[in-house]
């Protein structure tokens, strides 16, 4: 087990390094010049070239990559020989000259909204997805099952932005049940926070729960046919215990995989939901940075998101062994 973890962590680090390199090469193809953002209106070509040199943007890609990696561990100072050098402490994910802020600080500022959005939706969709899935499996073939599966089909066929826009139209504009979304921290104004987050949570939860209903139903149907379920029932265990302790636990592994990866993906920012409900999260930061051609921020968000996904992959694999004792990690 520990040898497995060590091996997985090493391959995870290699994957992350590779990923950073690929992101660097991809973005070095972009024609936008980050140095351009450092020099204002009265910009002369000489100043531009000097700035580019100071920022290390005239170096080959691989060397820029090296500087970036070094910055991650020991910090980095931009424009050392200029009158106003920019210090970016370790771990330095880069510096946005457009916004005049360290990328890490920008990401940290936007992370809470994204985390709240992801966690709330996650809890909702897991609860709804798993319970409806079990319910459908237990009523398989009957109208309850068909209804749940119909809802699930509708859920995963609805594009997120259409669902979000409809929610805004009906609930906020027509029925005026909720005020226009405007994000505040839950510690500052919990009521406004819930009023803002309720719709995005529900919209995301509907989209994701659809898949989990199906997955749970199929898993339960498969597991309920196993011999040990019959044994458990024959022993006279109450049906609730049979379902919860015997069936659900055995069928849980694919659900955990999907849940871990989906949550990690969402932590990287739900681009569409955030932009529709104007939530100040990573997703909307990403879209704004794309529009501003703010390269360091895009690279930073890409790496943070990819890290979430890769780490989630590892955690999910380790959880397998905890949930299902039949799984042996070698």
């Amino acid at each position: 087990m520990s040898a497995y973890v060590v091996r997985r962590v090493i391959s995870m680090i290699i994957l992350l390094l590779l990923l950073t390199l690929v992101v660097f090469i991809l973005f070095s193809l972009l024609p936008t010049d980050p140095a351009r953002l450092t020099c204002g209106k009265g910009c002369t070509p000489e100043v531009l070239i000097a700035n580019r040199h100071r920022l290390g943007l005239d170096l080959p890609v691989v060397q820029q990559y090296w500087e970036f990696m070094k910055g991650l561990f020991v910090g980095r100072i931009y424009a050392v020989d200029s009158p106003s050098p920019v210090v970016c402490n370790a771990p330095c994910l880069g510096y946005s000259f457009k916004r005049g802020e360290e990328v890490l600080v920008l990401i940290k500022d936007r992370l809470p909204a994204t985390i709240w959005l992801a966690l709330g939706a996650f809890i909702l969709w897991l609860a709804a997805g798993i319970s409806f899935g079990i319910y459908a499996a237990l009523r398989r073939g009957r109208w309850q099952d068909k209804t749940v599966m119909g809802i699930s089909l509708a859920g995963y066929s609805l594009p997120s932005f259409f669902l979000g826009l409809m929610a805004i139209f009906f609930i906020i504009i027509r029925l005026q049940l909720l005020p226009y979304p405007s994000y505040v921290s839950p510690f500052e104004n919990p009521i406004q926070f819930f009023q803002t987050m309720l719709l995005p949570w529900i919209v995301l939860a509907i989209l994701y729960a659809a898949f989990y209903m199906r997955l749970t139903r199929n898993q339960m149907l498969e597991v309920l046919g196993e011999d040990y379920i019959r044994t458990a029932r024959a022993k006279g265990l109450p049906e609730r215990i049979v379902i919860r302790k015997h069936a659900l636990r055995a069928g849980l592994t694919p659900i955990v995989t999907a849940a871990g990866l989906d949550l990690a993906g969402l932590l990287g920012g739900a681009i569409i939901t955030e932009s529709i409900f104007s939530l100040p999260g990573l997703g909307s930061l990403a879209v704004n940075s794309v529009n501003d051609a703010d390269l360091p921020v895009i690279v930073g968000i890409t790496l943070v998101t990819a890290t979430f996904i890769i780490v989630a992959n590892l955690i999910v694999d380790l959880l397998y062994a905890v949930i299902d004792p039949r799984v042996r990690l070698v």
Partner: protein, 328 residues
């Protein structure tokens, strides 16, 4: 079978029975034909594809086109459509666009064209690359498998929506440099390429897993012993055993691509005006839908119908291919 079999039939009686062997295609088709919902969906889909193909003809018959401005149908102050429901009239069956008076119905048909073109081509490419690379990876094993496997891990770890957004400008430019006509052709090609690049690993994983078990079967061994070429073993011996998962994957990927394309157009990566697609129309509706809700509901509804029918067909194909189906 020409005669019904009974348990009591003796081997001699069995010899008289003619067994008609059925190919996978026949089995799937017979099962699909029995599925009424699937047949209705297939007909709707065929209708949508025909509508997309003949969009110019249909628009010509109705006397509308998506490009011409109609200043008569919008108000002089503000540019909102004249009349109720976004300016629905005999001239403009589904209303007109804010500010320009372009016909919504014609835009919808041309949008359908672009959405289906992108999603269908991207699905074909995804299936092609996913299948080929999956088979090679599963059969070759060793270093080849490791290289393809790590590449897949790498691609799957990317936040693909963000990358597609960020790279759209430069890669579209590259395509133009390579000789693809400027503007929408290169933007469409870009979407097709990126959807395929981020899509193939999922299928390749499934195919690889299947190949791992198929390659151990006797008939593969037999053809190796007979000196069959590697190409023959991979694509004539192994591939026919994989059609079921590939077909299911393809039918369920197409609707996802329709949705993703719409999402990307919504975020501004898709085709540029005067052309349009569902996502673009929905994106434009954001500024006006509190006043003219039909801008939101018309393209949204068509998009949902398209995705739902594709998903239903996909589910039906999966049921038809599942050997355990019918037992539940």
């Amino acid at each position: 079978m020409t005669k019904k079999l009974a348990v009591t039939d003796t081997p001699a009686a069995l010899a008289d029975v003619e067994f008609a062997s059925r190919s996978l295609r026949q089995i799937v088709w017979t099962r699909l034909r029995r599925d009424k919902l699937a047949m209705v969906c297939l007909i709707i889909l065929m209708g949508l594809y025909l509508t997309a193909i003949f969009a110019p003809v249909i628009c010509g018959l109705l006397g509308v086109d998506p490009y011409s401005f109609d200043k008569e149908s919008i108000s002089d102050s503000g540019g909102g459509p004249v009349g109720t429901w976004g300016g629905i009239s005999t001239e403009h069956p589904l209303g007109v666009e804010w500010g320009t008076g372009r016909d919504i119905f014609a835009q919808l048909l041309y949008g359908l064209r672009i959405s289906l073109l992108i999603a269908t081509t991207a699905t074909i490419l995804t299936v092609f690359f996913g299948t080929v690379l999956g088979i090679i990876s599963g059969y070759a094993g060793g270093k080849t498998d490791a290289v393809i496997g790590r590449t897949m891990d790498l691609i799957l770890a990317f936040p693909f929506l963000l990358i597609i957004l960020a790279m759209s400008g430069v890669l579209t430019q590259r395509l133009t440099d390579l000789g693809v006509p400027d503007g929408n052709p290169s933007r469409i090609l870009y979407l097709i390429i990126v959807l395929s690049i981020f899509g193939w690993p999922y299928l390749a994983r499934i195919v690889r897993g299947q190949v791992l078990s198929v390659r151990e079967r006797e008939f593969v061994e037999a053809s190796i012993a007979m000196g069959a070429s590697r190409y023959r073993i991979l694509f004539k011996e192994i591939l026919p055993n994989l059609w079921a998962p590939i077909l299911v994957y393809a039918t369920l990927t197409l609707p996802t691509y329709v949705g993703t394309e719409a999402a990307l157009s919504f975020l501004g990566v898709g085709v540029l005006p005067p052309d349009t697609s569902f996502g673009g129309m929905l994106g434009n509706s954001v500024s006006y839908f509190s006043v003219v809700p039909s801008y939101l509901f018309i393209p949204g509804t068509v998009l949902v119908i398209l995705v739902v029918t594709f998903n239903l067909v996909g589910d039906a194909v999966r049921d038809a291919l599942d050997p355990r189906a019918g037992r539940v």
